[in-house]
Symmetry: C2
């Protein structure tokens, strides 16, 4: 990635740079459905399991309400989700897919394959990468 940075830096910079590179590769595909990458992640979680609280989304995506509240308001403005305060516990806000939000899943369905083509990736590379990250992440439990 870069020769001039010393080894101790190369330890973590490549991951940081690679994550940004992936998001940049997603950009044109996500632009087509007018989502940012974090918005796409939220939609993915909701497509997998509709109706979740802000905290539940945050737990899965490692994001707090300071990030999610404005992001979810933007998704609401686009009529992709609705934000409803729970009647049984008024502290909780439930995030639910709208019809439009559900329908977007079809358009988004081809994105993962397109990304792999765009990045010229093999399934085996990704599996290997995932395996190592999982291995490292699991060390701190």
């Amino acid at each position: 990635m870069n020769e001039q940075l010393n080894l101790s830096q190369q330890v973590c910079f490549p991951i940081y740079a690679f994550a940004k590179e992936i998001i940049n590769q997603y950009r044109p595909m996500l632009d087509a459905i007018e989502l940012t990458y974090p918005q796409y992640l939220v939609m993915m979680v909701l497509w997998e399991h509709d109706s979740q609280t802000v905290n539940q989304l945050g737990g899965k995506l490692h994001l707090d309400s300071g990030t999610l509240t404005p992001l979810l308001k933007r998704l609401e403005t686009k009529s992709l989700v609705s934000r409803t305060r729970s009647t049984t516990d008024e502290r909780i806000v439930n995030i639910t897919l709208t019809q439009k939000g559900k329908e977007l899943q079809t358009q988004a369905a081809t994105i993962p394959q397109k990304l792999m083509q765009a990045m010229n990736l093999e399934m085996e590379d990704l599996e290997e990468l995932k395996r190592i990250i999982t291995k490292i992440s699991n060390k701190n439990k």
Copy 2:
């Protein structure tokens, strides 16, 4: 990292989440020297090779002037770097370490080892991770 996200998403989300996790692990160490992670990256590049243009820094860190200009102004406010417009080509701004900026390197020297301890990482894990990322990144050249 999370079981509820489907496979196609897990392809890239783990890298995104892992990069954020690393930056969060850096935070307490960087707080101690009052740098953010991107600011630390800029200082690392300058410690490696002092005096670089905004474009050179951006090329190495994959950041544009929209990100770097305000960041460098903050480093200048902290008296860690100086920003000087080139006399031979007035379009270019040279970023140079101040004495204080150079001295900070000593304090920062222990950070990489501390990070590895904090994350409970082995050198071999990182080498493996780096190897795969390099392999994938090199596919697109």
